[in-house]
């Protein structure tokens, strides 16, 4: 199976920066005329060839959950790739806003019929911020580095396990062999796993970066912000901004106030959707409402005595009016989902009808399971807006069917220690923002302790299926299994609510990956 990439190219150009800029601008005009995809991933919507302004162009983005470091290989926090992915580090392939794979560092790739051999043709123009080419040797060096890294984040390690070898055939051709077919692997390579680092970089990754993207890491002020600067030697469409600052807010109301008062330009994802009317004035603000990969999951600890029983899990699911929850807690924003898949996943189907809201039936099921006199469960949630508000709603509705859910709000580090690592909980709520992460249910050591072997085999079979169609069908089956087995309760899918000042455009409607993609954003 082959994939043919775009025909237009970016040429490495001349000497002075002005020349580069002019050429880039004329390229932009050209690409707007050709009906093909653009390798660097720049959106072709609304390309205006405005002359380069003199004043430094800055973009100030308000975000939440400050990253502890700039090293995504040793720290699993999603806020790290939010800043770095596609902006500072690039990958061989990129996921676009419809969830399809597109070229980035690789212009084209072929997959062998047995789906074990991937051949990537790198874009010869691609280079790192240091000036060195992103060549096949660099890609191989990256894979080998990850394989040799004993401290690599577990999730990345699991994704990498399927890679058997990587070899550079020539300067722009890389062959990667897998030890078994994996549908997910190429998608994983479009995310954190596939970030290509300059092999010459030997500094501390936690505080410096060495990528090939349109921006480079400039500074991190702990407790405040992360600052990116434009990569003046970028090999494709130049960065639209000279400096981009991600400022981290712990209080969603402060975040909203900052945009309202003009201090910030963008809210990367609105954490208090009830404040949407605050930004209703379209002459001042633009609101983008789309989807993310985030499933807000009410996790059930399958090691807990009561929750091991299917009838109890069904009862709990039916006790919660998920539409009312979404409307109350998240102001009606976000799609309702019935399992661990979001509308942009290829295997998504609407499973919200499984175990619908029916408190009477829920009570009956509880009685059948032997808990007529009531049940007490611990609902331990991290202190994040959607989690604490959902917890209040859930506890109230469970109370209506005779289940007492005691709410404990834990600081995030404590939540990681007690709930995530030690599974010391009955119920919990957290959003899983990594794309295509249904495979987590196949890991019996994951905090849900869901050790169902049938799901694991369904998942494994789907991943190593012989064709994409078979894989998608297989995942569909697996996803349905999760819903029928009440592996968890899916409250809603986190919407992509991006609010910007009205002079900013190019924000993609959906956020199909972990990246807050700066390459498409412009300001007038």
């Amino acid at each position: 199976m082959t994939y043919v990439a775009a025909e237009s190219r970016r040429s490495r150009t001349g000497i002075s920066k002005v020349l580069v800029a002019m050429l880039a601008m004329s390229m932009m005009v050209l690409s707007a005329c050709t009906p093909t995809a653009v390798p660097s991933g720049t959106a072709t919507t609304g390309d205006t060839s405005a002359p380069a302004p003199e004043a430094p162009r800055t973009l100030k983005i308000a975000a939440t959950l400050e990253p502890a470091s700039m090293d995504p290989w040793h720290n699993p926090a999603a806020s790290i790739p939010q800043v770095l992915l596609y902006n500072v580090y690039e990958t061989l392939v990129k996921v676009d806003s419809s969830g399809l794979l597109k070229p980035l560092l690789a212009q084209a790739w072929e997959i062998s019929d047995d789906r074990l051999t991937y051949t990537f043709h790198l874009n010869p123009a691609a280079k790192f911020a240091s000036g060195a080419a992103v060549d096949a040797a660099a890609v191989v060096a990256n894979i080998n580095r990850l394989k040799a890294d004993t401290k690599l984040v577990d999730a990345l390690g699991l994704q990498l396990a399927v890679v058997a070898s990587a070899e550079a055939l020539d300067a722009t051709k890389v062959v990667i062999k897998l030890n078994k077919p994996s549908f997910m692997w190429l998608y994983d390579m479009s995310s954190t796993l596939g970030m290509i680092l300059d092999p010459a970089e030997t500094g501390d990754l936690a505080t410096s970066t060495a990528g090939s993207g349109p921006y480079v890491f400039k500074a991190q002020n702990r407790g405040q912000n992360v600052i990116l600067a434009a990569n003046t030697a970028y090999w494709a469409n130049p960065a639209r901004f000279d400096e981009v600052t991600f400022t981290y807010f712990t209080d969603p109301n402060a975040e909203n106030a900052a945009l309202s008062s003009g201090d910030q330009d963008v809210i990367s994802n609105l954490q208090a959707p009830d404040a949407l009317p605050q930004f209703a004035d379209t002459s001042q603000f633009t609101t983008t409402s789309g989807t993310t990969n985030g499933e807000v999951v009410l996790g059930l600890n399958h090691e807990s005595k009561a929750l091991a029983k299917l009838k109890v899990r069904q009862a709990l699911t039916m006790a919660i009016d998920r539409q009312a929850l979404r409307d109350t807690v998240w102001n009606g924003q976000g799609a309702l989902i019935g399992s661990m898949a979001v509308p942009t996943d290829p295997w998504y189907e609407d499973l919200t009808g499984t175990n619908p809201y029916d408190p009477e039936k829920a009570k009956a099921l509880l009685k059948q399971a032997g808990y007529e006199s009531g049940l007490t469960l611990r609902l331990r949630v991290p202190v994040i807006p959607y989690a604490v508000k959902s917890a209040q709603f859930v506890a109230s509705q469970l109370r209506d069917i005779g289940v007492k859910a005691t709410i404990e709000e834990l600081e995030f580090s404590r939540w990681i220690d007690e709930v995530y690592t030690k599974a010391d909980y009955d119920l919990t709520i957290v959003a899983h923002v990594e794309p295509r992460d249904l495979g987590k249910f196949a890991d019996p050591k994951y905090y849900w302790r869901y050790g169902d072997p049938e799901f694991a085999s369904l998942y494994a079979a789907a991943d190593s299926a012989a064709s994409d169609e078979q894989a998608v069908a297989g995942f569909k089956q697996a996803v349905k299994y999760l819903a029928d087995d009440c592996a968890a309760i899916w409250l809603f899918s986190l919407p992509n609510l991006v609010i910007t000042k009205s002079n900013i455009s190019g924000v993609s409607t959906n956020a199909p990956g972990l990246s807050f993609d700066l390459t498409s954003i412009t300001s007038r």
Binding site: A68, S69, N75, P76, A77, K151, V153, D154, A155, A206, N221, R222, G223, Q224, T247, F249, T250, D251, N253, A254, A257, A258, S260, S261, G262, D263, Q278, E411, F412, S413, R414, I416, D417, E418, Y420, T421
Partner: protein
């Protein structure tokens, strides 16, 4: 001689208090559950990797050794390194101390600007309606939660009128204009609440003066109330005022922590809250140490200033161990 002896004794007391506080701080932070190593390794920590990281960070040494090594470090200015970012704690704290100092400093000055004139007027006119009005306003100002006041100010001046930024901070060296703009609302919030509290003390201090002989004498000789008050009252009221300011510091710091939270100011308060949440123990210890140091230092300075203002009065007051709250 007597005074020198007292100063020396007071310094000794200050040092012992600091030592006691440091021990308390150390013990409390060690009681925190949750593990720095766990947090650093994030969601994929294994027992082996956690144990190894604990060894690397020196968390497996006996408690007494950890305490003494921390204390020893402090005495030479080394507060250790943040477990999370590896930066020296002092370097992390320095810009934070600056922010909190601006906030607290300007807040206290602002509160005096509000309280001194208002308190004087309230004392002079205490039997007529301006006096009642000021006292009533002070009572109301004291009763309003500081964060509520802040939120309302943000709503009016930042969101509706857009005159000032809603939150955040710009350092003085980067842009003095923006630095001032970002400090206006937080300082006003803090100053208003503190000012309201102070008005009552100022008022009662000046009322005391009004009852004193020297004031009555001045008045009988023909001085206006204002002049008499200013000439004699300020010096004598100063002791009570200084005492109150010193006592207020702890509550001002509390107010500052809350204000920093409302306005997203990167000061010691927000550093403390996030360091505790992240179990960054050395940062927590360092931050608390600074806060405690500030309060103990101010109360020592308050005691010293008694000696400057009025050694006689100081003798009486220090026999009481400093004024009661």
């Amino acid at each position: 001689m007597h005074v020198a002896g007292r100063i020396g004794r007071r310094l000794g007391v200050f040092a012992i208090s600091l030592l006691g506080a440091s021990l308390l701080i150390f013990l409390i932070t060690k009681a925190l559950p949750g593990d720095v190593a766990q947090v650093l390794l994030g969601t994929d920590a294994t027992p082996e990797s956690v144990a190894e990281l604990r060894r690397e960070l020196g968390l497996d040494r006996p408690l007494i050794v950890q305490y003494l090594s921390w204390l020893g470090g402090i005495l030479v200015g080394d507060f250790g390194h943040s477990h999370l970012s590896g930066q020296p704690v002092l370097a992390l704290l320095a810009p934070r101390i600056a922010v909190t100092s601006w906030l607290v400093g300007f807040g206290m000055i602002g509160s005096l600007i509000i309280a001194l004139p208002a308190g004087m007027v309230a004392a002079l006119k205490r039997r007529s309606w301006p006096g009642f009005a000021i006292s009533a306003a002070a009572q109301v100002g004291m009763a309003i939660p500081v964060f509520w006041g802040g939120i309302l100010l943000v709503l009016v001046f930042a969101v509706w009128l857009r005159w000032l930024p809603a939150n955040g901070y710009v350092s003085l060296t980067k842009d003095p204009g923006q630095w001032a703009a970002h400090l206006v609302l937080p300082v006003v919030t803090l100053a208003a609440v503190q000012g309201a509290i102070l008005i009552r003390y100022v008022r009662s201090a000046f009322i005391e003066v009004l009852n004193e002989d020297y004031y009555r004498t001045a008045r009988s000789v023909g001085w206006t109330p204002m002049r008499a008050l200013l000439r004699h009252g300020v010096r004598n009221a100063a002791i009570s005022l200084v005492t109150v300011l010193g006592l207020q510091l702890a509550s001002v710091l509390v107010g500052a922590i809350v204000v920093e939270s409302v306005f997203n100011l990167p000061g010691l308060g927000s550093m403390l809250l996030s360091a505790v949440a992240q179990r960054d123990l050395l940062v927590v210890q360092g931050t608390v140490m600074f806060l405690v140091l500030a309060v103990l230092l101010i109360s020592a300075l308050v005691d010293f200033s008694y000696l400057l203002i009025d050694p006689r009065q100081a003798a009486v007051d220090s026999a009481d161990g400093g004024a009661a709250s």
